[in-house]
């Protein structure tokens, strides 16, 4: 069966440490992988995209890796701050059943809590 797995347990870390979140998938061959942030009561906000032929992408304190052999993406936030506390969703770019377009299919997200 096809699955996108993110840790359902919240990740608790101390301010200043690096947070690492994991997105694993099975039986998919995504064209790309995205990470979104979602705050309570709000819609997800796009953070980063990494394509299938890329190994790593960085943006400010964020770093994403993509290993298509392991079928895994890691999302890192360095020097974490309490304001980084949120739920982080990964989304795989998968083809429509009708073919043609690749559109995001979301995991269920992992909650990150950064303690001061």
């Amino acid at each position: 069966s096809q699955k996108i797995e993110q840790n359902s347990e919240a990740l608790n870390i101390q301010e200043g440490k690096t947070a690492t979140l994991t997105c694993n998938y099975t039986n998919y061959s995504p064209a790309y992988l995205q990470w979104y942030r979602q705050d309570p009561g709000r819609g997800p906000v796009f953070l980063l995209l990494i394509r299938e032929n890329e190994k790593e992408k960085r943006k400010e304190r964020l770093k994403v890796t993509f290993d298509t052999t392991l079928k895994q993406s890691l999302f890192h936030i360095t020097a974490s701050q309490p304001a980084d506390s949120a739920t982080y969703l990964c989304a795989l770019g998968l083809p429509l059943k009708s073919g043609g377009s690749y559109i995001p299919t979301f995991g269920r997200g992992t909650s990150l809590i950064v303690h001061p």
Binding site: G41, G43, P44, F46, F106, R108
Partner: protein, 115 residues
């Protein structure tokens, strides 16, 4: 700054009633998505439009749900008749497709409660 807007933000209704949710995508965006989010299932894609044409609605229960884009500034999601299991937060998102990393801009959502 440009945002996706959704109305209503909250809706409480009784089983069997019709519910209509509206979305105004960001001006110039050519893709529109409807998602449903629940604790159990996470974010599920219900429908996808490109240039106002429906390209995928396989995630939508066809017997009671319908999605349309009467024009480029309005997308609607209708449930008739509604059931308690439809209680969820419904998100609309718009984007520019592959030209923009497939980034989706989400609206604030409509929280639907069906009693």
């Amino acid at each position: 700054d440009a945002r996706v807007t959704q109305t209503p933000r909250h809706k409480v209704t009784e089983m069997g009633q019709e519910v209509t949710m509206r979305c105004q995508p960001i001006l110039g965006h050519n893709t529109v998505f409807w998602y449903r989010q629940t604790m159990m299932q996470g974010l599920e894609l219900l429908a996808y439009f490109r240039n106002r044409a429906p390209l995928d609605d396989s995630g939508m229960p066809k017997d009671r749900f319908s999605a349309e884009m009467p024009d480029a500034t309005l997308a609607t999601l209708k449930i008739q008749p509604s059931e308690p299991r439809d209680s969820a937060v419904y998100f609309c998102a718009s984007g520019l497709g592959l030209r923009s990393n497939n980034e989706q801009f989400f609206g604030p959502g409509t929280r639907l409660t069906v009693l």
